[in-house]
Amino acid sequence: MDHDSLADRRAVIRVPAGHDAFADATTDAAAAGDETATADEDVTVARVGPTGIGALDPLVTATADGETAFYADPGVDLTSEVAADLADGTVGATGDPLTVVDHDPDAATLPVPEDTALGVGLRRLLRGAGWHRPTDPGDHAAAGGFADAGLEDVVTAADGLVGRGWGDWCHDEDVSPTLDRARDAFGDVAVVVNAHGTAADALLAESVPFSVLEGADLLATALDAERVVLYLSEADETARERIETAAERYSDPETAFEVVAGPAVHRATEPTMALEAIEGNHRLEARLRRPGELPVLNGAPALVHTARTVAHLFERMRAGASGNDPTDHGDTRFVTVTGDVETPATVELPEREALETALEAVSPTDGCKAAAVGGRFGGLTDSLDVSVGSDALAEAGLGTDGVVEILGEDRCLVEFAGRRAQLAADTNCGRCVPCREGATQLTELLRDIYDGDYDEDGIAELLRVMDDSSVCAFGVEAARPARTAIDAFDGEFEAHAEGRCPAGACFEPPEVPQ
C-alpha cells in the first residue's frame, strides 16, 4: 500500500488532537516565522493521540533533523513560539522543554525519552501513540502496518496469545481453541472487538486505531468473517470517532467494519452483555454460556476479543513479518494507574515486570497504603511486588483487567470494600441470585461490622457462593474486593467491629460535653 507518512517531513510539530487552539497557534506561527515559507511546505502540524501519560498532557513535541523536543502542557503561547522556532530550523531552544531526544531522522515511532514517565516500561503497542496521526493510514504503514497475512500466519501468531481483560471471551486464556472452533464455521463468523469500558482499550482506539483495526482484519481474513464489529462505550466519544474515521480510511478491509456504541455502564463490557448490546436489546443482562462453544451474534458464531488482544495479535504478526518468531516475541501488559494520584497513566510493561514499576509514571497524592488491582472489582493488596502476567496476579488473588487503583494513607479499606459491594448491588444486571441478592446481602454483612457484628465465616461463605455460582464474571469479580480486603487487612475489620477505624475515616468522633 502506498501511503504518505510524517516520517518524510522536514519539520513536524505534534499537538494533541482535540486541542484546536494548539493547532491554530502552531499553524499561524509556523507560517509567520519564515515569511517565505508556508506551514504546509516547511513545518507540518500533526494532530496526534494521547500517549497514556496523563501528567504530560497536553503534550507538544517539535521534531526536525533527528531531534525531538518534548513540552508537557506548554500552553498556547509557548506552543506558538516553539512552532516559529521550528520554522527557522531550531529545536528545543525555546521555553524549557522537558527533554530533547536524538533519534533516527526518519523515525516512524515515538522516540522514547527514557528519563520521563514515557520511559516507564516499554512502548510496543503504543509506539505510535503521540507520534502517529491516529486516523492516518500512512503513519501506521510506515511503522510496519498493513502486512499481508493468511489463515496459517494468523493461527501461528495467535498460538499462546492470552485474552486481555474481562471483556474478552478468552479472559486469561489462550485464544487458540476459540480460533480453532471459529475455523469450523469458516465464512459465517462474526469478529467482535470489545473496546468498551477499559482505559487501555480506549487509549488504543484513540491513539493507534489502525493497530486495533488491523488485528480485527487479520482475524476476519483468516476466517472469511461475515461481520467485524468494533464495540465501544457511549462515554468514549473520542475513541469512537477515531475508530470510525480510521475504519473509513482503512484500505480494502476483508470485511467492512461496523462501529457500535454500547451504554456507558460497567456491566456492558462483559462479553455476553456486549453481544446483547450489539444486537440492540434495550435491556442488558448476562447470557448463559454453553460449555466449549462460541457465543453467537445474531445467529453467527462470534469471536469476542478486547482491543488489547487484537492489537497484540497485530503486533505478533508484525514481529513475524520482520523476521522474528511471533510466538517468542514476549507479550506486554497494559497497566492503568488511577485512584489517589495526581493524574492517571496507562503504561505498557513486559509480562515479567512487577506492577510497582507502573507507579513510576504517576505521583500519588497521599502515599500508597494499598491498591485495588484489576479494575472496578479489583483485589486489595499492600504489595505491588507482583508481576503483571495473569498467572502471577491470579495466584495473588488479584484481578487481571490491567488497572491499579491507588488508595492513599487515609483510606479505610472496610469502607472501600463496602462501597464496592454496594456498587455491585446497584449495578448488576439482575439476572442471577448469587450476584443480585448476594451483593445486597454482602453489603449488609459489611455494614453489620460497624455494629460490632463481624461474621467472618458468613462473609466468606457468601463470597464463595458468589464466586462459584454467578452466571457471569460480574458476580465472580464482585466478590473480590471484600475477599482480598479481609485476607490482607483483617485487622482493620476487627478494629471496626470494636468501634475503631484505624484510618480515622468511618466513625464520628464522640461528642465532648461542653
Binding site: A264, V265, E285, R290, Q422, P434, C506
Partner: protein, 327 residues
C-alpha cells in the same frame, strides 16, 4: 364489536416482542448420554440436561453398582426451573448447583448431559451453593405465608421445607416500608411483586408460548422487576388479554388468579392477604372497551421507555459510588 376494531388492535408481531431478557444458547445435550449421579448411572436421550439426570435418579430410575437405584444423596431444589412447554431454563436461582468431575460446580438445569459425566449432589461446595442461594431467594421474599393464596402449593415454600430451612441466614423481607403495592387493578390476575423471585417463567409464558408480548423483565440490580412492555404502571393499563398463563406458571404467590388470591390464607379475623402488605393499586373504575387497548400504537411508547431506561441506568451508575452514605 369486530367493526370497532382497528388495524392496530391486533397481537404484536413476534419481532416486536421485547421481553428484556438475553438470548441464551440451547443448553440441552446433542446426543444420548449415560450420566452417573451420586453413584447411580442413568441413560438419557438427546436433548437432556444434568438436571434431567438428577431428577431421573431422584425418581428411582437408573441403576447403581448393586443394580438398583437409591435416589440422590441430597435434594436439588432447582427452584426457577419449570421444565415444560419450552419455558426455561432461566438458570437464575442457582439452587441446582452440582459438582461434576470435569467442570467443577455447574448449574444442573442449564448444563448439557454429556456422556460419561459424573455428578455429585452431596459435594460440600454444591450443597453450600444451593443452601446459600435458596436463603438469598428467601431474603428478598415476602414470607407472610399465612396470608398468601399459594400457601401449601408454593414451590418456594416446598423447597424451603424440603431443605429444612428453619431460619434463613439473611432473614426475610419483612419491612412494610419496602413493600411494593399489590397490583389489584386487573379483573382476573393479581400481582404481588413482593413475592416475585424473578424466575421469568411468566415472561416466557406470555411471550414465547402465548405470543402476547405483555410482560417483560425490566430494571437492573435490586430494581429488577416484572413490568409491562407498553410501559404501563399497572396491569389494567397494560395490553394483557387475561389468558392466565402467567398465573399458571408462577412458582409463588406473585401472580395469582383473582378470586382465589386468599384461598389458602389462614383465617385470622382482620388479617387479610391485602392488608398484610398494606398498599395496593385498585381499578380506576372507568369503563373498558373490548379486550385490550391498541397494541401497535403503544409500541413506540415501549421503545421510548427502553431508551429512557438506558439513560437512567448510566446516570444511576455514575452516581452510585458517591450517592450512598457509608456505613
Amino acid at each position: 364489536m369486530s367493526s370497532d376494531h382497528q388495524a392496530g388492535d391486533v397481537p404484536p408481531l413476534t419481532e416486536d416482542i421485547a421481553p428484556g431478557t438475553a438470548t441464551d444458547p440451547p443448553v440441552e445435550s446433542d446426543d444420548a448420554a449415560t450420566v452417573t449421579v451420586d453413584g447411580t448411572a442413568v441413560d438419557l436421550p438427546a436433548g437432556s440436561t444434568l438436571l434431567d439426570a438428577v431428577e431421573a435418579v431422584e425418581n428411582g430410575t437408573g441403576t447403581d453398582a448393586d443394580g438398583e437405584g437409591n435416589g440422590t444423596a441430597e435434594t436439588v431444589p432447582a427452584l426457577c426451573q419449570y421444565g415444560r412447554e419450552d419455558i426455561g431454563p432461566r438458570s437464575t436461582c442457582r439452587t441446582c448447583m452440582v459438582e461434576t468431575d470435569s467442570e467443577g460446580l455447574v448449574p444442573a438445569c442449564s448444563h448439557p448431559a454429556e456422556d460419561g459425566a459424573v455428578v455429585r449432589t452431596d459435594a460440600a461446595a454444591a450443597v453450600e451453593a444451593r443452601d446459600v442461594n435458596l436463603d438469598l431467594v428467601l431474603s428478598n421474599h415476602n414470607l407472610r405465608c399465612t396470608t398468601c393464596g399459594k400457601n401449601g402449593r408454593c414451590d418456594l415454600q416446598d423447597a424451603a421445607i424440603e431443605n429444612d430451612v428453619e431460619e434463613p441466614r439473611y432473614g426475610v423481607l419483612d419491612d412494610r416500608d419496602a413493600y411494593e403495592p399489590i397490583d389489584d387493578t386487573s379483573s382476573f390476575i393479581q400481582i404481588d411483586r413482593n413475592k416475585c423471585i424473578l424466575c421469568n417463567r411468566c415472561v416466557e409464558a406470555c411471550n414465547d408460548v402465548q405470543v402476547e408480548g405483555v410482560l417483560r423483565m425490566e430494571g437492573s440490580g435490586s430494581d429488577t422487576r416484572i413490568g409491562f412492555q407498553n410501559g404501563a404502571a399497572t396491569m389494567e393499563d397494560s395490553t394483557c388479554v387475561s389468558c392466565g398463563h402467567c398465573a399458571t406458571v408462577c412458582p409463588t404467590g406473585s401472580l395469582v388468579e383473582k378470586g382465589i388470591e386468599d384461598a389458602t390464607t389462614i383465617q385470622i379475623p382482620g388479617f387479610t392477604q391485602k392488608n398484610s402488605v398494606g398498599k395496593s393499586y385498585e381499578r380506576d373504575g372507568s369503563p373498558k372497551g373490548p379486550m385490550t387497548p391498541k397494541k401497535a400504537a403503544e409500541r413506540t411508547e415501549r421503545d421510548a421507555s427502553g431508551e429512557a431506561e438506558r439513560g437512567r441506568e448510566s446516570a444511576k451508575e455514575s452516581a452510585s459510588d458517591e450517592r450512598r452514605d457509608w456505613p
